[in-house]
Symmetry: C5
Subunit: 233 residues, 5 copies
């Protein structure tokens, strides 16, 4: 669907704590097979990246950011991951689906391609506006979004990758921001809280802060074995 | 109840991740028995179809779309599936019940028969309108629905199969659309979001995008073994 | 409490899917003991009936409709069922408690006795009105309920068994209707949706459609073994 | 904190159904140890009582009503119960914490001491008022509460033990009423539903009806073994 | 990020009841390893403290209060704890992330450093204001907060450690108060409930009351073995 835009999906994983009771070799084999499946699929995706939530979010350990033109590739990857031994111990508490399209609030004509900037952190959350927002005149919405965009531009190290989920998932938007430091993003959101557009927010949770890491590092943190930071602990 | 319309039901299944730890032969036998039960019942239903959610929805792996004149056939199928070994590992996080009836907003006099178009994707979700909708004069509701129907008609590849659940399940409607590509449906819903009828939406989630597949393919994706796409992974 | 009315309770059961992995003899013994306990208690209740939800509701397999003058009998039955082997695998996702009393909207003076009509289906759901309903003048509420009762009377095959839960459970009412066909009840509820009384509905879910069956048939459908419909599958 | 009032706490327990699959001796030992811990702590509490929900509530089997001047005693009892074998199979789906204080709506000057009346039933629920209630002039609140108190006084067999949870638990009040028969309490609450104070209710669920029993009887009903009512079943 | 403020995080733990069925030596080893990991990391945090909820909260056993300049240290600690045997039996029902910044309602210019006062109790909860709050003129918000701060100051034994979560977690603020006695905090919150600022509260639950203890004591209470209060039971 290259003329239609890209599919952008996020899958959140949580390992059953009982997995940590397995012998270390069995855990290592499970992590290897999962990482190999990700690595095998990566070239077929526009982008396929891993983010760790270990030690911060209560409900997930890591998540994948998946970008592709081909919807069915999401199912193929899911099936391949289900064939790994780790899948016998993984739950997916959240998974979000969205697509790109040309924004109606910028001068863009074509669906934007999502290009990760390789920042160390990604903040991502589902977003729903209140119904009255959609009854506002277009000029008022444009003006409210202009304010939003203007404030966002003042935070130069923060990159917005918002996509659209209307009708294909439970939220309207998937909001995603890469940043250099989570506290920077807090300051942006605190500033935006007083804007007119924010007053039309129906729901903007759960909010996930992910640490960009190689998928093998995200998996290493599941049981603290083989992590790059292990010897600092 | 052929003069009363059809029962239209959707059952969503999620396999316990621990099932994936079973020996491959035991998993294969479980999938076979489940598929055989579906295949044995298919001729007794008007339609009995499978859709995969693997890799996309966090809370279910596949779902069945069941259409029949005979309510009790739903119970018989449920009992037969409970007799298969896979039923020891399956949960049904969602199940929805609806019936057809003549729409009050079209010129139809008789309950429409639901006829799947064999599109590759089915988008389905439970739907509840706000109570003030029902207090509007009939003319205003007719006019709002006319707008909805007119916009929908502009998306010729999208087919609407909405049914009625008042009093027999937790939603008012089961909204179901077949389409050629999920992104097309996103564009339709984005357009509809600004209509008057949409402003009376109380709830329209969870939204499920299913990939139409043979039931054996839906089951193959549970553990990635025997899937038609397996060798592409 | 015969001068106070009757207690009317509904208990919903869901079997752990893992129970289906037990040897068939162990399952049969568990079902037998549960059925025997029900049969032993039935004479002590005014009514004690079973309804199957297999194949329709996602969250329960069957439910009991229990009617008695003696509150403590509910605890005794619960304790006796806990002594059966099936209780090691049963969850009760829902249970509802209500009592009868004279309705303030009919000319009845004494608490109505609930008398099941033996219809094949029972539709039951907890019900809460909005707080503004209770601030309406009594005449307006009477008039709104008159409309409700008049419409209900046009559906002669549907029998209303509503009871009262104020302060003794999480809902205000337990609404229960026996009917010959679930689709008939959908038509009644669709018609009522436009009445004034309906606009004061705060909550009317979850809605359960039960198929009246002998308790042994409800249990047979848990694993599809011994069901009366087994050989039709 | 005798000059500050008493801590009043309710802990709700639910046994894992799998516990019922243990050998009867192991179950008996688990129940004995739990009962012994309760009995050992009872003299250190002002009151420590057990109530059974078996056969009625779907989400708990029994609860403890704990009254003490010493907050840390709650932690000590919790730790002691965690040391019993039954704690390997018990969940606490709910637990509520409150304190006594002098009511602002009566002429009392000192925190009331909570004194159970030994009625057979206790109805208990968390309670939150809407925020606009707190913006009403004190005279209007006084008048609304006077009406509440006057109606309550007409139900002489019902005893109110309401306590305060502001800031120390998720509700504002813990409402608790002892009564002779649950249906009596339904009639009181039905009457109160039309009062002005009730219109400011934000939340008053879940509502629990407990049967006062010795703790050993509450435990006996978990598996129906050794219950005082066992031979009536 | 010393010029940006500190990260302040709270992680809540609940042990799987089945852990209590393990041999006592295995439990002791699991508790030791967890405590050692905490003790090893403590010097790298500004503060790293444990609080017990045993016997009071239904959904968690203890929590950690973590304060650091270095976001990634939260992930490192999480990974190290995942490597301990206890992590095979621990769930984290809640976890909250916040940062310090200069308050806009006081004369402070620099982000406050959070300095625990070593009080015996910590009350902590996530907090969200209603959107209309943010549309109030700054003077009105200042005046409302002045009232709040003035009332808080009258409770000299209660110390406020509020931090900011906008955009990096599901709440706007993490409100935290150290106090000498939970009942004192109830009186403060009861007083604040009538202030103007409180009327703009959207959500302020769940509320946790933690007892400050050494981490080994928090763990001892999981199974009541080795607790400092064990011999008082």
């Amino acid at each position: 669907m290259s003329d239609r835009g890209q599919y952008v999906a996020y899958s959140f994983y949580r390992v059953d704590p009982a997995w940590r009771r397995l012998p270390i070799e069995e855990r290592a084999a499970g992590k290897d097979a999962f990482a190999e499946a990700i690595e095998a699929f990566a070239p077929r995706f526009a982008h396929l990246r891993a983010y760790s939530c270990t030690g911060v979010r209560p409900d997930c350990d890591f998540f994948l950011w998946k970008i592709t033109d081909n919807y069915d590739l999401l199912g193929e990857l899911g099936s391949a991951l289900n064939a790994t031994p780790l899948a016998g111990w993984l739950e997916t508490p959240y998974s979000y689906l969205a697509t790109t399209k040309a924004s109606q609030y910028t001068s863009a004509r074509k669906p934007r391609k999502i290009t990760p900037r390789n920042s160390p952190y990604l903040v991502v959350y589902p977003f729903v506006k209140t119904r009255p927002w959609y009854a506002l005149p277009h000029e008022q919405r444009q003006s409210a979004m202009d304010e939003h965009i203007r404030i966002g531009a003042e935070f130069a190290s923060i990159h917005n990758h918002t996509t659209y989920s209307f009708g294909i998932d439970d939220q309207e938007f998937m909001t995603a921001f890469e940043c250099d430091e989570p506290a920077d993003f807090m300051h942006l959101m605190l500033t935006l809280r007083e804007t007119e557009a924010s007053s039309y927010t129906e729901r903007d949770t759960p909010i996930f802060v992910g640490r960009h890491v190689p998928v093998r590092e995200a998996l290493a943190r599941l049981d603290g074995v083989g992590s790059l930071v292990e010897d600092h602990g």
